[in-house]
């Protein structure tokens, strides 16, 4: 006689320690096995797009900060590039260099949180705190220049809000040499930890085909072994002047495209960011960072879709201008939003504990998913 069994619905979130904020997952489980995952979003829907329509072009920048709050510089960067494209402004060299350095510093800081929380979800709390400690270093460097720790409003259309602090170059150099040790420490403590590998390798394998079809970008896509980075493939700003590699997942510990690969890509990406910073920091030309800032931003009628490589993937801004001082419509193509969509696919057939590991390796920021 066959026993009649039922699946159980487990509600994970919005208050759950490892849903990275206020994501709610409806897990349909059979024992510990996942049958189906249904994400519910919107618990942090802060109406960014409505605000963008109601504000002037430059007033939107602070709101972009608050979308992906772990990588505010990247958000600013994407937005100002889009508006500059609409206006046809060429920014001074100095501004370009500072923007790139800031964006890369921010990328490291953001990956610190991503890797730390990924580890913490699996139970390794100490690496998380070590990474937060070093993130603090980056924040203090950036703070010295733009006066805020997290949400900067630093990049303006046509320029920057402030020139860099006199200490900036020296401290950034100190940081780059210091941070290399952190990466070694992280590798020893977490990346090659046997238990960590057991927990993440072969878990949540994302094949390259599926990744493209689902529109995955950033470390998610590169973890699946596709060498695609907007900084190289659809280059913007002055990224084509620097020499850096695109790390991709190679399946060193399991299958290409598993959770460990996504984690690994992030670690190696931090090294590449350090390389970019090291090259850029010596070349910052003299100049005035305010010279190209327009007095009044009133772009001509038209549309623009501009995208940048944020730590989480392709951040796209679709702006429609109707010739007024306010944008007519700003749509954000948020990398986390698109990446999160794959979760259901990745989790099927795994255990509850794997959902956490997979979610951590996707690295979502709810502010950006819900906007």
């Amino acid at each position: 006689m066959a026993l009649k069994t039922e699946t159980m619905v487990l509600n994970m979130g919005p208050q759950h320690p490892s849903t990275h904020g206020v994501l709610r997952l409806e897990l349909e489980i059979e024992g510990e096995l996942i049958v189906n995952v249904k994400p519910h979003l919107g618990y942090l829907h802060r109406c960014f797009e409505k605000h963008a329509e109601a504000m002037q072009y430059n007033q939107v920048i602070p709101y972009t900060d608050r979308m992906d709050y772990l990588a505010s510089m990247g958000n600013n960067f994407g937005y100002v590039l889009a508006v500059e494209k609409l206006l046809g402004i060429q920014v001074p060299e100095r501004v370009e260099y500072i923007r790139v350095i800031m964006a890369e510093l921010q990328r490291i800081a953001s990956h610190c949180v991503a890797l730390g929380t990924n580890g913490a979800d699996i139970g390794a709390l100490t690496p998380f705190l070590y990474l937060f400690r070093d993130r603090e270093y980056i924040l203090s460097i950036i703070e010295e220049t733009c006066g805020a720790r997290m949400l900067y409003n630093y990049m303006w259309v046509g320029g920057l809000s402030h020139d860099i602090h006199p200490n900036f170059v020296r401290r950034t150099k100190e940081f780059t040499s210091y941070f290399k040790n952190t990466i070694v420490e992280l590798d020893n403590l977490l990346t090659y930890n046997k238990i960590f590998i057991e927990r993440t390798a072969n878990i949540g394998v994302l094949p390259a085909e599926t990744a493209i079809n689902y529109g995955a970008t950033g470390p998610m896509l590169r973890g699946s072994g596709i060498k695609f980075d907007l900084r190289k493939d659809d280059t913007y700003s002055i990224y084509n002047r620097f020499d850096f590699d695109i790390p991709v997942g190679q399946g060193l510990q399991g299958t290409v495209g598993d959770s460990w690969d996504r984690y690994y890509v992030r670690v190696r990406e931090m090294e590449q960011s350090l390389r970019i910073i090291e090259q850029a920091i010596d070349q910052i030309p003299e100049g005035d960072v305010h010279s190209a800032i327009p007095k009044r931003i009133k772009p001509p009628k038209g549309t623009v879709y501009s995208r940048v490589e944020n730590p989480r993937g392709e951040l796209g801004y679709f702006i429609i201008s109707d010739g007024n001082t306010n944008p007519f419509r700003v749509k954000v193509r948020a990398p986390s939003f698109v990446n999160l969509e794959i979760l259901g696919e990745l989790c099927k057939g795994h255990l509850i504990a794997d959902v956490i590991a997979i979610l951590g390796s996707i690295d979502i920021v709810l502010g950006e998913v819900d906007r």
Binding site: K85, Y305, R307, G316, R329
Partner: protein
């Protein structure tokens, strides 16, 4: 690598009537307009054609064009009547590295667009968002629910419409400041 004009030519030759026009005036990107109920055919063609290979949908945005005429409703609020709602599709080919923008427009009162979910999976949530925010109905979408707003939010109240009016209360909580 193909320019938008070349792609437009290919589309026009292959699919004919469905492809409406190309708007070359915009300074940054030309936009190809397509029939809303045939967009899935165009999408499939764009993805599968070996010369085009648009395997990635970068962005799908619903837009309230607000090109109808403004009237006052019986409570004295501005309401837009007539005009269109649009959906923009930004496509990219990771193989051939070219981009294209498609646009479909549907009448505001009964905006229906064919879903492209089965062409690019990532369209799923984007379409749900466009439905939630603008109120465009995507035909043949597997699970067209609200995504960002609460499920029990007022019917036919779509926040990104230009004539959206903020309700006074939601579940007993006052919304306006």
């Amino acid at each position: 690598m193909k320019t938008a004009e070349e792609i437009f030519e290919i589309l026009k030759n292959e699919l004919g009537e469905i492809i409406l026009s190309i708007d070359k005036d915009t300074p940054t990107e030309p936009i190809i307009s397509v029939e809303p109920l045939k967009i899935h055919i165009v999408s499939k063609f764009l993805r599968d054609n070996s010369e085009l290979q648009f395997d990635s949908l970068m962005c799908l945005s619903g837009v309230d064009d607000a090109n109808g005429k403004k009237v006052k409703d019986n409570e004295g609020y501005d309401v837009i009547e007539g005009g269109t709602l649009s959906v923009y599709y930004h496509l990219y080919s990771t193989v051939l590295k070219h981009k294209i923008t498609l646009k479909v427009s549907a009448p505001r009162e009964d905006a229906k667009v064919e879903s492209v979910e089965n062409v690019w999976k990532c369209a799923d949530w984007h379409e749900r968002e466009a439905y939630d925010m603008i109120g465009i109905k995507f035909l043949n979408h597997p699970d067209l629910r609200r995504i960002l707003m609460p499920y029990d939010w007022e019917e036919n109240s779509h926040p990104l419409r230009k004539d959206f009016k903020v309700p006074e209360f939601y579940q007993g909580m006052k919304i306006p400041y």
